[in-house]
């Protein structure tokens, strides 16, 4: 495939109108392979926008099943899908949205060794998980395999977004929270759908900009958002000189 078909030109016509876009840029998306880990409130919105934009190969990882309490914010799922594996429901929905994509469902909680095996074949990892240990394992695997990572998180009224290329010495997730054990889940601390959707939209936007190599992706920066007070801030990360993940061997 060296040029877009007429159907593809029509499907992607709105994004192709952007001055930064052209057929070769669209083809770049169609040839991209992205791993989305976690298909909850973040992952379902991220996956939907990436599939819509024509990211050619999506790997979707989640071991969870759809539950009724997911439906207010996990927009890929329907009431009829309660009890289904999220990867199966999501694959069916995304494949209907954009039939030309390759979607690989992975019904598993990926371990560090799973991640290390998968990462060499992907261009980008999107961390949409709901627990600290998965987040730190993904961070470590992306560092070791030198795959860019865009990590989103939402809880209560707060959202955080972190884009990382930690092998460049800009710091990593572990540098930011070196003694992180775990944090309350959405079911424990509450969440409103649009808050997690906002983080997910930013995550998807950064992902597309990175794949297209356009604009500013702000790697090495933490974006914090407070949805109750409408405040946000952007903070520059620094490598923790004692970081066991990304500073090992530096000193």
């Amino acid at each position: 495939m060296s040029e877009l078909t007429p159907a593809q030109q029509l499907r992607y016509s709105a994004q192709l109108l952007l001055p930064e876009m052209d057929e070769s840029q669209q083809l770049r998306l169609l040839y991209s392979k992205v791993l989305i880990i976690g298909l909850g409130g973040l992952g379902s919105v991220v996956a939907s926008y990436l599939a819509g934009a024509g990211v050619g190969h999506l790997l979707l990882a989640d071991d969870d099943r759809v539950s009724l309490s997911n439906l207010p914010r996990q927009l890929l799922y329907s009431s009829a899908g309660v009890g289904q594996l999220k990867v199966d429901a999501a694959t069916a929905r995304l494949q209907a949205q954009n039939p030309e994509l390759v979607i690989t469902p992975l019904a598993a909680r990926l371990s560090l060794s799973d991640l290390l095996a998968l990462l060499p074949e992907v261009n980008l990892v999107l961390d949409c998980t709901d627990n600290a240990s998965s987040r730190l394992a993904i961070n470590q695997a992306c560092f070791l395999r030198q795959v860019p990572l865009i990590s989103g998180a939402a809880s209560g009224w707060r959202g955080q977004l972190l884009a990382l290329q930690p092998w460049l010495g800009q710091g990593c997730y572990q540098c930011l929270y070196p003694d992180w054990q775990d944090s309350p889940s959405c079911l424990q601390s509450g969440i409103l759908g649009p808050l997690v959707g906002m983080v997910a939209c930013q995550q998807a936007l950064l992902a597309l900009k990175h794949l297209l190599q356009i604009g500013d992706v702000s790697f090495g920066r933490l974006y914090c958002f407070d949805g109750l007070h409408g405040q946000s801030s952007q903070l520059k990360l620094q490598q923790e000189p004692a970081c066991p993940i990304c500073a090992a061997g530096d000193s």
Binding site: Y177, D179, S183, V196, Q234, L235, Q238
Partner: protein, 66 residues
């Protein structure tokens, strides 16, 4: 000196390190990060990093929800 902590003005007697300030505010707990003037301060520097007049300090907590 005057610093700003989570957007509130705070009067402090120098010298005061990040770790001393957080301990004084009873904020030292796992899973937190601190930025001074929009720059994250690595944990191993908290004991030595001094606060200066006019600094803006932000404390934020790790969140994991998705």
């Amino acid at each position: 000196m005057l610093i700003y902590f989570n957007q509130q003005p705070f009067s402090l007697t120098p010298p005061c390190t990040v770790a001393e300030f957080l301990a004084g505010q009873q904020q030292l707990r796992p899973g937190i990060a601190v930025a001074i003037n929009q720059q994250v301060i690595p944990r191993s520097c908290w004991d030595t990093q001094p606060l200066n007049d006019g600094d803006t300090i932000m404390l934020f907590t790790a969140i994991a929800g998705g």
